[in-house]
């Protein structure tokens, strides 16, 4: 299962996290008005574990009628919820944060099963960030008067939220925590391939005693998302996902009074200068594109390396990639897990084939892929130019395109030469260069001498076609306030 046939006697024995900490029911309903309920038309869908294709559960599939029911429940709940003193709303959110911490191992295993990402990530990144996000926004609920949006800023009403499958519970936290803190109520649609953690979150809402209808969870497909965005009684639309769907949403809400925030695609440039701290840069490149199998909107999917150090950097990078361990996501030593779905795998595969056919040079470490499930070996492409599809289109997979540059100006020009503007990385030991380049990059998050760092206090969001609005920090409140 590991990437390389390790001849060393120091072969790490399997170290699987126990599945027994999580109890997945054979079926789940929609969570509307505090109750689990079947879909109006009785439809269901299966959710599978991407690493084994095992069916984990059968989940009710929301349709337009269910969306209407959920929005009405949220509207009814809004009256009391928005009238609660902020300090009371805060306590509900603190309760939720605490319960998430208590149940974090269970949720980490669940997320790994449903999503396919390594337990190392759900345990050490996703879940701690989820709890932290609720803690952070809990504290805002009774301090909104002092947040810089004027006295007594009002909530918008019912928020319709559609989230992706790459960080299912974390994206839920990014959406629900600020919405509730500011006094809105929520109808949230998780992605069809990863509905389970949102349904477990519904149970956490019940444990926390959250009033019914404040949070409604509607597992379903794109049609349910579209119905939610379209619903006339939704005041706020928040979406994280592809740029194509983001544009469709922007058209849908045109002419309405709905407030919209969109977190969309990216093609992040990771710029390595010749005076970089090389070993840390290599780690940053690896985390930038192979964290969560590269299924990250802010991934550093374009490596821009100064030509004078390209060869040695690539040697180091390849050597490092050879130590990555791909396999069972529940194994605590796994670095690279499964791709989330067959559909995503085929998208990655076809873009990689296009990269090859356009003449880029493909490389992967020696890598044995499991026989069942959806897998893709860590891949890098050299001989890539700005004109290649793999240098322009978001692949959303473990595929790195390597380009070179000669001068800082050229690096900036190439980095900015994209329809996207979500993230970028800069590696240099020269402070003035970092600040100058950071100032010129047209991207919402700039990681200098680090990459893929997240924090609830730190605003996240894009320029250009990567979307608009910010999530996280004081900035993140604005999306849910009538200001």
């Amino acid at each position: 299962m590991t990437m390389e046939k390790r001849s060393s006697a120091f072969e790490y024995a399997p170290a699987p996290e126990s599945r027994s900490v999580v109890d997945i029911a054979p079926s789940y309903g929609l969570f509307i008005d505090g109750e689990f309920t079947e879909a109006a038309d009785g439809r269901v869908f299966k959710t599978v574990s991407p690493s084994t294709e095992e069916v984990l559960s059968e989940v009710a599939r929301a349709g337009a009628e269910d969306v209407d029911r959920a929005v009405r429940a949220a509207r009814t709940a809004f009256v009391k919820w928005s009238a609660l003193p902020g300090s009371e709303r805060a306590k509900y959110l603190f309760r939720i944060a605490r319960i998430i911490q208590e149940r974090s191992r269970e949720l980490a295993v669940l997320e790994t099963l449903d999503n396919g990402k390594p337990i190392k990530e759900t345990r050490d990144a996703d879940l701690p960030l989820v709890a932290a996000h609720f803690f952070y926004y809990a504290g805002w609920a009774d301090k909104l008067d002092h947040a810089g949006f004027g006295a007594d800023p009002r909530p918008l009403g019912v928020a319709g939220q559609v989230i992706p499958w790459n960080f299912p519970l974390l994206m839920l936290a990014w959406k629900i925590a600020p919405a509730l803190a500011t006094g809105n109520t929520v109808v949230l649609k998780p992605a069809e391939t990863t509905p389970l953690s949102a349904l477990f979150f519904a149970d956490i809402c019940r444990q926390a005693g959250l009033p019914r209808g404040v949070v409604n969870i509607l597992p379903g497909y794109g049609d349910a998302g579209a119905a939610l965005v379209e619903h006339p009684d939704v005041n706020k639309v928040a979406f994280t996902g592809s740029t194509a769907v983001g544009k469709a949403i922007a058209r849908q809400v045109a002419g309405s009074h709905k407030k919209v925030t969109l977190e969309l695609g990216g093609k992040g440039a990771n710029i390595v200068f010749d005076d970089a701290p090389v070993d840390q840069a290599v780690e940053g490149i690896v985390s930038g594109i192979f964290f969560n199998q590269g299924q990250v909107c802010c991934a550093g999917s374009r490596l821009l390396v100064q030509e004078s150090i390209q060869d040695e950097l690539l040697d180091s990078l390849k050597r490092r990639l050879s130590t990555l361990r791909l396999g069972d996501p529940l194994d605590k030593n796994t670095d690279i897990g499964a791709i989330n779905s067959a559909e995503q795998l085929s998208r990655i595969t076809s873009l990689v084939e296009q990269g090859e056919s356009e003449g880029a040079e493909r490389w992967s470490p020696a890598c044995e892929l499991p026989s069942s499930g959806y897998w893709f070996a860590p891949t890098l492409f050299t001989n890539v130019t700005q004109a290649h599809t793999i240098a322009r289109d978001e692949i959303f997979g473990p595929v790195l395109s390597v380009l070179s540059f000669r001068t800082p100006d050229e690096a900036v020009a190439k980095a900015n030469n994209s329809q996207y503007g979500l993230s970028a990385g800069i590696w240099s030991e020269k402070g003035s260069r970092i600040l100058a380049v950071a100032g010129k990059l047209r991207a919402g998050v700039i990681w200098s001498n680090t990459f893929n760092k997240f924090d609830p206090t730190s605003p996240f969001g894009g320029y250009k076609e990567s979307g608009f609005g910010r999530e996280g920090g004081r900035h993140g409140l604005e999306a849910y306030l009538d200001v």
Partner: protein, 300 residues
């Protein structure tokens, strides 16, 4: 210009009103003009009827100006905006006359409008080097990282100026856009475009780099359509659009996910808030490791 005000011994010299694009005063590429009348229907002047090609040229000029203007220090931008107020003040009488004609106001009412517009430039001049401190700042992340969020201008902004407030409304929608370093292509009030064109003449002599503000006149809907769908325009303010046009333009704007400000009722007499400043700002967040200085109390 009107009969009444020109009743003197000598024949007055009419002004040819021209567009203001890239710091120059071109006629419309179309070669067309349209008649502008006062509120009673009397002819005032012929204004350029800008075409989609004029719109295209204006975007090129605005994009070209963006690097320099957004890269200028906030202090410098404040100085330039204040200079606009100074220049306007000096041409106060001209603008009082033009606003009175355009909007059918008494001389005293028009004077109040012009004074308010001058004061608006002063208000925004003072904001250029303060807004970053109000909406940006350090974020206390849970780790050894310096983390700072700062606002940056969105880029090239198309503005549909208010139709009914041809001067105060106009100033109120373009000053906040350029204060933060954006550049603008503004479509003047369709019925009353002359104060906007005269403002171009003021801007040209106010140390404002060419292309930062570009003024187009003509049919709002016709000029706005190509700007709303233009892939090199980053945002659009629909202040001067009616509901139907606003919806169409918002749909077109989705093609490259422009930031959109929908039309809303605004009382231009009131001191503005910062909404129009922040509407065209992006937030950039920069992370950097801090580490520690030495062995004392840490592992270096």
């Amino acid at each position: 210009m009107s009969e009444k005000s020109e009743r003197t011994a000598r024949l007055s010299v009419f002004k040819t009103y021209k567009l203001y694009v890239g710091g120059k005063f071109p006629r419309s590429e179309s070669g067309r003009v349209y008649e502008v009348t006062d509120s009673k229907g009397n002819w005032l002047a012929n204004a350029p009827l800008a075409s989609r090609k004029d719109a295209r040229d204006a975007v090129v000029a605005a994009r070209k100006a963006f690097g320099g203007w957004s890269g200028a220090t906030a202090y410098n931008r404040g100085q330039v905006l204040y200079r606009v107020a100074e220049m306007l003040e000096g041409r106060r009488e001209q603008f009082v006359r033009e606003v009175a004609d355009a909007e059918g106001l008494s001389k005293s009412k028009a004077a109040a409008v012009v004074d308010a517009a001058v004061d608006r430039w002063v208000w925004y001049a003072g904001w250029t080097d303060k807004i970053a401190q109000v909406v940006g700042g350090a974020n206390p992340v849970a780790g050894p990282f310096f983390n700072l969020s700062t606002p940056e201008p969105t880029g090239v902004v198309t503005v549909l100026a208010p139709q009914d407030s041809s001067f105060l409304g106009l100033v109120s929608v373009i000053a906040p856009v350029i204060a933060t370093g954006n550049t603008v292509v503004v479509i003047a009030s369709e019925r009353s475009p002359l104060p906007a064109l005269s403002l171009g003449e003021v801007l040209a002599t106010s140390d404002l780099p060419g292309g930062v503000v570009n003024v187009l006149t003509g049919r709002t809907a016709e000029i706005a359509a190509p700007l709303a769908s233009h892939q090199d325009v980053n945002a659009i303010d629909l202040a001067g659009a009616d509901a139907e046009l606003a919806r169409e333009l918002e749909v077109a704007a989705a093609d490259n996910l422009k930031r959109v400000v929908r039309p809303q009722a605004v009382d231009h007499w009131e001191t503005p808030g910062i909404e129009r400043l922040t509407a065209f700002l992006e937030t950039k967040t920069v992370w950097h490791p801090t580490g520690a200085l030495g062995a004392a109390g840490s592992s270096y």
